[in-house]
């Protein structure tokens, strides 16, 4: 028994939104449940989800490695503190 192509198409369209959980485009509970069920029975879409998660994890690691220089953050925090206390005026 093959997996319905319509579910694969919907899965591909919704996977990023499902993984991002962004308030601007959050899936409904029903959509999320349908997607989760589809991923449990369709190896191709499950593999696609794993690919996406793997790339996302790598991008998150890149973001963590390329953080701003703590000294620059400290200088800006000092600027902010002086503004807040009126010393910079």
């Amino acid at each position: 028994m093959s997996v319905p192509m319509l579910d694969c198409w919907l899965s591909a369209r919704r996977l990023d939104r499902y993984l991002d959980r962004d308030d601007s485009a959050r899936l409904t509970d029903g959509q999320a449940r349908r997607l989760e069920h589809h991923l449990s029975v369709c190896a191709r879409c499950a593999s696609s989800a794993e690919d996406r998660m793997r790339v996302r994890a790598a991008l998150h690691r890149l973001g963590a490695r390329h953080r701003p220089d703590p000294a620059a953050v400290a200088r800006l925090e000092d600027v902010a503190a002086r503004l807040r206390t009126g010393e910079g005026a």
Partner: protein
């Protein structure tokens, strides 16, 4: 616009409408401490995405802090990060008008270096595999069209929401989503050679056994 740290301009909020009103000044200071100061690192990251340079980003954030301080009593308290990122974007645009229009690129992507100092993974094998995969991801990211790359940088590396990225880029949320989708799709295409082999627990039609 590289600036020596010792020559950064003096900081001051300029003429203050709340001057002489201690209650207004105190309220403004509290709002500034609540909404702005916790987001300094995020502002610096966003400014870096816009300017392509950490030095320029620091200048932009310094100016943005002054603007935010002056405007905070008019801020309605909703979506503080989006409000701040809009200030960062406008400050960046103003600085471009004062100087030459330099296309923003990411320094670290232009001179990609080996990925040292990566997050610790549980095993040496995973660290090894992640480093090789990460290098390929970085190369694929560098090969993206800048319009698409910037959305990935803001959302996936800097963890902005779609709406915040839309504010930074000055485009609708739908545009952020479509660019993000295309960018991620291209990244996956570029990384297809790194995909693990077929899963032996599935049949040829993709149905799980």
């Amino acid at each position: 616009m590289s600036v020596d740290q010792s020559t950064r301009h003096a900081v001051g909020p300029g003429p203050d409408p709340a001057a002489g009103d201690p209650d207004a000044s105190t309220g403004r200071a509290e709002l500034f401490g609540t909404y702005v100061e916790p987001e300094i690192e995020a502002m610096l990251r966003v400014a870096h995405r816009l300017t392509g340079s950490w030095n320029d980003a620091e200048d932009v954030v310094q100016d943005s802090l002054v603007r935010a301080y002056r405007a905070i009593d008019r801020f309605d308290g909703r979506h503080p990060r989006a409000w701040l990122f809009t200030i960062v974007r406008n400050t960046h645009l103003n600085s471009l008008r004062r100087t030459r229009p330099v296309p923003a690129e990411d320094e670290w992507l232009e001179r990609r270096t080996p990925a040292f100092g990566a997050d610790r993974a549980p095993s040496a094998e995973e660290v090894y595999a992640d480093r090789h995969f990460d290098a390929d991801v970085e190369a694929a990211l560098a090969a993206l069209d800048p319009r698409f790359r910037r959305v990935v940088l803001l959302v996936d590396l800097d963890h902005l929401t779609y709406a915040e990225a839309a504010e930074v880029l000055g485009v609708p949320v739908g545009t952020v989503m479509s660019r993000l989708s295309r960018a991620r799709s291209r990244l996956r295409e570029q990384l297809a050679h790194r995909r693990p082999g077929p899963d032996p627990t599935t049949d040829p039609k993709g149905k799980r056994r």
